[in-house]
Symmetry: C2
Subunit: 389 residues, 2 copies
């Protein structure tokens, strides 16, 4: 929902508000609410039904994440992903959103819920996905953040637009490393788009060409959950919207909404927190992810090098011009007309290139550091996995 | 320890390594190790005594944080502060460091330790501290991060350069909101600089003029701790270095090292985690911090506005020039000589101002969002504090 840019934006925010009022959920996790004014309007409208809400602020535009709840929000925390695309990819714009993880803590009948909402970097080209290493770093940070912050929670819930297909390495990493289970595969009853797809061709706001290899659509929005300590969660029902909103000519959004009914039960005996995937398999997933991060690291190192070289060349050009100008001023080239216009244009060009290349060099230096850091964390995780009896 | 810039840097890193080998600590938390090469050298040197270590990578230069440990590091997590000074304050340089919190988890005799190491934004002018709101946001994020990630820990330890005096609002907020206790005030035995100061005039690397109002020096480096669950921590001894290293003519660093001997004991009955400050007092501290964050917010909003206006003016100037150039091209001012040099210089100036002002505007937009987010989190904390019976 980008103000002034998204098609029929106002109308759709209103439709979403109406639907949330009518369905009367316990908890609503929204992504891509880019405008705080839309959030405020929704908050005013939904106040009666969802008295508690929170908007996560970050980046230039905002994180787009917000939460509406029937239960009091006891605490919140925001974690901004360390990598999130490139500032110069203006047409993709992910960098400006300050993509983050939002955490809220609520308590229902004495059960502590850690609720996470997030939105990972988009995938613009599946065949040649330049953002895969960034999205993998995000998936890893998401898994690590959940593991480290959920140790006192009874139930962990994650909802959001993960921009990953169910079989992608990032989602296997996230599920394996946190032990979260996928509501779609666990649901006892399902109703909605075939295969649980959330980006479908039968939605007038999706880009049809991107979905050509997937005639049914793709499933990239998830509700994941797990119970730690002595609780059990079951997904009784999972539903998705199916394109056009009931009685309207447009859908609520380009993505289909995912709605889960969860049943939470106290168990007799406490079961220790365990990982979701058998450990030898998990080690393979971490290794696979680490390889992809390594590919990204080498690309980032190349870009750091080439932008650094560009900056040095621009600096040399400027120095050369300074020497030439000095030559003219000291009268070495007296008599010859000085080409003022071309000279100043060239200097201008050199300064612009110097500034841009320096900025990019700094950016790619940060990128290299974060990819190295993630690779090392993954190596440590592998060591811990291998050392376990 | 900035390579090529810091005075007698090589010698001092070596001195620090020698001292760590000789003293044979259990755990060492270092800040301002800006060069990864220094870390690698230390790691090679200390490998026998401290077989486990971790360097936290972030920002352009690095976080400067690293850890050496006699015990296996089971897990790590990095949290980068959302605000950390201004990129254009090159002389202060904090922004480039990617100031962060490093978390490592270790286990000693079955006791789980969450160890945090951090370095907050420096204070350059105490009378007119432009960075106070940023440092307060960092103190708040530090407190929130510790609270959310330490729920399964038996013992929490925080060490680092907090750049705050013991009575400052940031340190009161941190201690009050996490329940951490100050090793200096709790120590049964103390040995070192008077008042536990860690930045003292009697150290040849400190800036004497900054310490003029504090003849004894200031205490800005801390070891804080608490035990959750059924454990008790006591600080048996606290020591600081005292300027010049033994037998040398230079100190190890511009800050004095803080060394604590902690005694950890299992307690008969579990005591619930509690806050460090009586709650009505804590509400006052949060209110005081929120007021300061509000002051920073208004300053950031003013800067966002003025940089935005500057960008618009530069754009208007460029448009005006374009109209003038069109006028010349279409022959409206035929006959008059066109001032090529001044024209291109002016265009160059306008473009540079436009680029810089736009960049700054985006930066201050992020700053406003983060300050608003922190203010709101603090408001929520106040509500929770007030609602408690």
């Amino acid at each position: 929902a980008i103000r002034y840019l998204s098609k029929r934006h106002q109308e759709r925010v209103q439709l979403i508000g109406d639907m949330l009022l009518q369905e009367d959920f316990d908890l609503v996790l929204l992504q891509e609410v880019w405008s705080e004014r839309d959030y405020s309007n929704l908050k005013a409208k939904l106040g009666g039904c969802y008295p508690f809400s929170h908007y996560f602020r970050s980046g230039v535009i905002g994180s787009g994440l917000c939460v509406f709840s029937r239960f009091a929000i006891l605490d919140t925390l925001l974690y901004q992903y360390s990598l999130n695309g490139y500032p110069y990819m203006l047409q993709h714009g992910d960098w400006f959103c300050g993509k983050s993880i939002g955490l809220i803590i609520i308590k229902i009948s004495g059960i502590v819920f850690n609720i996470y909402v997030t939105h990972l970097h988009a995938e613009y080209c599946r065949e040649k996905d330049a953002y895969l290493p960034h999205r993998l770093v995000q998936a890893w940070e998401l898994a690590q953040f959940i593991r480290h912050t959920s140790k006192a929670a009874d139930v962990v819930l994650l909802g959001g637009d993960l921009n990953m297909h169910p079989e992608d390495v990032g989602i296997r990493l996230l599920r394996g490393w946190t032990g979260l289970r996928d509501a779609f595969t666990e649901a006892m009853h399902f109703e909605g788009c075939e295969d649980g797809c959330t980006l479908i061709p039968n939605n007038c706001f999706t880009v049809k060409t991107e979905l050509l290899p997937f005639p049914l659509g793709i499933r990239i929005d998830y509700i994941l959950y797990k119970a730690v300590s002595s609780f059990m969660v079951k997904c009784e029902e999972l539903k998705t919207t199916t394109g056009t909103a009931p009685g309207m000519d447009i859908p609520f959004s380009d993505h289909e909404a995912v709605m889960a009914t969860l049943h939470i039960r106290r168990q007799g005996q406490a079961v220790g927190a365990n990982l979701g995937t058998a450990e030898p398999m998990l080690a393979d997933v971490v290794t696979e992810a680490r390889t992809e991060v390594g590919v990204g690291l080498r690309a980032a190192q190349r870009q750091r090098y080439s932008t650094g070289r560009m900056a040095v060349l621009a600096l040399l050009l400027l120095l050369l011009q300074a020497v030439a100008a000095l030559g003219v001023l000291t009268g070495l080239a007296a008599g010859k007309p000085f080409p003022t216009l071309s000279f100043s244009l060239l200097a201008f060009l050199a300064i612009v290139v110097l500034l841009l290349a320096t900025g990019l060099h700094l950016f790619h230096t940060i990128e290299v550091k974060m990819l190295q850091g993630t690779e090392e964390q993954m190596r440590m995780a592998l060591r811990v996995l291998q050392e376990r009896p």
